[in-house]
């Protein structure tokens, strides 16, 4: 495909990649890393894609996967009582609140979940996609999505509960 199509891809979907990564990681620098790695990887293999690629679905999948990969690699950050202020983040509903330790714990717990459970939870509960869309993105059945979501919720609730206790 032409270079202009890549340019179009970055213009059309780049911000979505950044936003998804930001929502998974809640860290502006890591989100930028995800953005960079995802788009660079695509550029390196640009000749292998064809015009039928469903970029929206593909980018959801690889972005969530890459963000979880970085979350796993990151050392757990001790909870702090500093003000929560994500640099460069607009429309942050948490702005002005104390650092949300539960949010931190959620990211860490997501990183420990089996991959499909984590991906389903993120796409469903953070990105707000329905089961059909998630099944399309992950290439699995709706029932598989539902089962993974249940397992993820139960496991995450348990992990968060352990943390609180």
């Amino acid at each position: 495909m032409s270079d202009s199509r890549f340019e179009e891809l970055v213009n059309t979907h780049g911000r979505d990649v950044l936003n998804v990564a930001l929502r998974v990681l809640r860290d502006a620098d890591l989100a930028k890393d995800v953005y960079q790695e995802v788009l660079l990887a695509i550029w390196r293999r640009w000749d292998r894609y064809d015009s039928s690629t469903n970029w929206g679905a593909y980018l959801y999948r690889v972005t969530v996967r890459k963000a979880l990969e970085l979350a796993r690699a990151r050392r757990p950050v001790p909870a702090s009582v500093e003000e929560c202020d994500l640099p460069g983040v607009g429309a942050n509903p948490d702005a002005g609140l104390r650092l949300d330790e539960l949010q931190q714990r959620l990211t860490e717990s997501l990183a420990k979940l089996p991959r499909q459970q984590a991906e389903v939870f993120i796409l469903s509960r953070i990105e707000g996609l329905d089961h059909g869309a998630i099944a399309g993105i992950l290439g699995c059945s709706r029932n598989s999505v539902r089962v993974s979501l249940h397992r993820a919720v139960k496991e995450l609730a348990r992990a968060m509960s352990d943390y609180r206790s």
Binding site: N11, G14, N19, A31, G88, P93, L106, I126
Partner: protein, 549 residues
């Protein structure tokens, strides 16, 4: 235990909204009598609430820019594969960037005021042929269209290119209208970004014998702007609820004079004579070309280069060789055409196509345009400190003591085009010795001047808490600031101009330019005298209507 695990599944289903009403009632009934399940349900709901809170997180423009810069830089470090002939990603992305770099945004913010000198407020003598560029001749030739004995009708079209203004969501033009007091109102004509190009038509009629004129802008059949003078009244329009057009007529004041130089308000050369004939420093190049009709022409590139000498945004003027009139002008941003404005026809007319008092527009229904909007008062000159305090969305500062070497300070209130919905304030003073002074305070500068600060160094820290950053691309931005304030300072930026970014106690970043060298003592006195405008107002109660002490 097995039963509890089973209930846990149903708790998840309840929290996820998967249960029917009857099933939900059953589970809730159980939960109300089971402490363990109640605690479980609270945990699940807290988890889902925690996740849902993230839905509101989104990257702002700066983070997006930074990510994109990072991508470009990282890719630039990679060696291109021997097996590929593709250009580097850096080049692809750099070529495609539209309104994403800080430099472009800063330049566009400043350009709002440059536009005043460029297109709008013609307070200087008209161009003449002697010693000026061909472009100035073109402006003069344009003026020639408006003389004679017959009504002249000019039709231009504004072509908004597909994708123009991506990044901000719109692209804009400054546009003058006449007020009943004889003054000019400078409006911001905004064109929404669209995936396909669209056309706005611009019709003007002018009667040289009486000075009557009417002008309308239309998208399709809908009028989006009108301004006229019928000898007694100055008229404009607004669209009331239901899309009904209302014509506003105000009696022309005694001081009102019909446009003496209608080309400054109408036509393609509007305002051009103001700056370009006086200072050709913004003309970056001229080359021969041909028009669409095959006629020979010259193309002028007009703009301000960035610190690296690149023209991020510029205008191209195509001047017809035969009669030196301007046939087209085109706005280009980062290599992409944004707007193309061209002459469609110039013809004599028996009568105006729209009455001088706009009567036929009254009561018509205009379809609400999603594409074109007009923000009045893009620039308001000579405002008071009080006005600035009331309209600013950030802490503003004034010089509490005017240095002896500068003249009267004027405050200009202007739309900050790179931070929509906000205003920027330009304080400008002309100095007898040519060292004119301009201080720009703007939300866009506050957000984006940090890059300049990093490139320079602190040259002074004042007792009132200001850090003065010098160096870096100070020649560049001081040139823009001084060019922006041409309306006040009148002289072109000098070679020995200096610029500083001031880091205020409130964290804002006012930009200061002086059109010549200053001593340390002069600079220190100037900065030491800066005071919050609101406090200045309080301490000068009753004097707030004045621009400056």
């Amino acid at each position: 235990m097995k039963n509890h695990e089973s209930m846990k599944d149903r708790l998840v289903s309840l929290a996820l909204g998967e249960l029917s009403e009857r099933e939900g009632c059953e589970v809730r009934a159980h939960v109300s009598g089971c402490d363990l399940c109640r605690a479980e349900l609270v945990q699940i709901e807290q988890l889902l609430d925690c996740a849902a809170r993230r839905k509101g997180l989104s990257a702002d423009e700066l983070l997006h820019e930074s990510a994109r810069d990072g991508l470009s830089a990282a890719a630039g470090k990679e060696k291109e594969s021997d097996t590929t002939t593709r250009p580097s990603i850096r080049r692809v992305l750099t070529g495609s960037r539209t309104m994403t770099s800080s430099i472009v945004k800063l330049a566009l913010a400043a350009a709002a005021v440059i536009a005043v000198a460029f297109f709008g407020l013609s307070t200087l003598p008209s161009a003449n042929d002697g010693g000026y560029s061909l472009l100035a001749k073109a402006c003069a030739a344009e003026e020639g269209l408006f003389v004679g004995t017959e009504i002249i009708h000019i039709q231009n079209e504004i072509i908004v290119q597909a994708g123009a203004g991506v990044g901000m969501g719109f692209v804009w033009l400054p546009m003058c209208s006449m007020k009943a007091d004889g003054g000019l109102r400078l409006n911001q004509l905004k064109f929404a970004t669209a995936s396909e190009s669209y056309v706005v038509t611009d019709h003007s009629w002018y009667d040289p014998a009486t000075g009557h004129f009417s002008r309308i802008l239309k998208t399709g059949d809908s009028v989006v702007f009108a301004n006229s003078y019928d000898g007694q009244f100055v008229c404009d329009m607004n669209v009331a609820s239901g899309g009904v057009v209302q014509v506003n007529r105000q009696a022309a004041a005694a001081a009102f004079k019909p446009p003496q130089s209608p080309a400054e308000y109408l036509g393609l050369a509007a305002g051009l004579a103001t700056s370009l004939s006086q200072d050709d420093s913004m003309v970056q190049g001229v080359k021969e070309s041909t028009l669409a009709d095959g006629e020979p022409a010259h193309v002028y590139t007009v703009g301000m280069p960035d610190p690296d000498g690149r023209l991020q945004g510029y205008w191209l003027f195509k001047v017809r060789d035969e009669d030196s009139t301007i046939a087209e002008k085109e706005f280009v941003l980062q290599g992409r055409s944004q707007l193309l404005i061209r002459r469609v026809l110039t013809e004599p007319a028996q009568s105006p196509g729209v009455a001088w008092n706009l009567s036929e527009l009254e009561g018509t229904v205009a379809q609400a345009s999603q594409q074109v909007s007009i923000t009045p008062d893009m620039v308001v000159q000579g405002v008071s400190v009080q006005h600035m305090v009331e309209r600013a969305t950030f802490e503003t500062y004034v010089f509490s003591a005017k240095p002896a070497w500068i003249g009267e300070m004027e405050i200009i209130d202007c739309i900050d085009p790179a931070s929509p919905g906000t205003r920027m304030f330009i304080m400008a003073a002309r100095a007898e010795d040519g060292r004119h002074l301009v201080l720009v305070q703007s939300p866009t500068y506050n957000r984006l001047s940090g890059g300049f600060v990093k490139q320079g160094q602190v040259v002074y820290t004042s007792p009132n808490g200001f850090k003065v950053h010098g160096g870096g691309p100070q020649k560049w931005y001081s040139g823009i600031l001084l060019q922006s304030a041409q309306y006040v300072v009148k002289d072109p930026p000098s070679e020995d101009r200096v610029g500083y970014i001031l880091e205020s106690p409130a964290g804002t970043l006012p930009a200061l330019a002086i059109n010549g060298p200053v001593t340390d003592e002069e600079l220190h006195r100037l900065v030491d005298s800066l005071a919050p405008a609101a406090e200045y107002l309080k301490s000068h109660a009753g004097n707030g209507q004045q621009a400056q002490p």
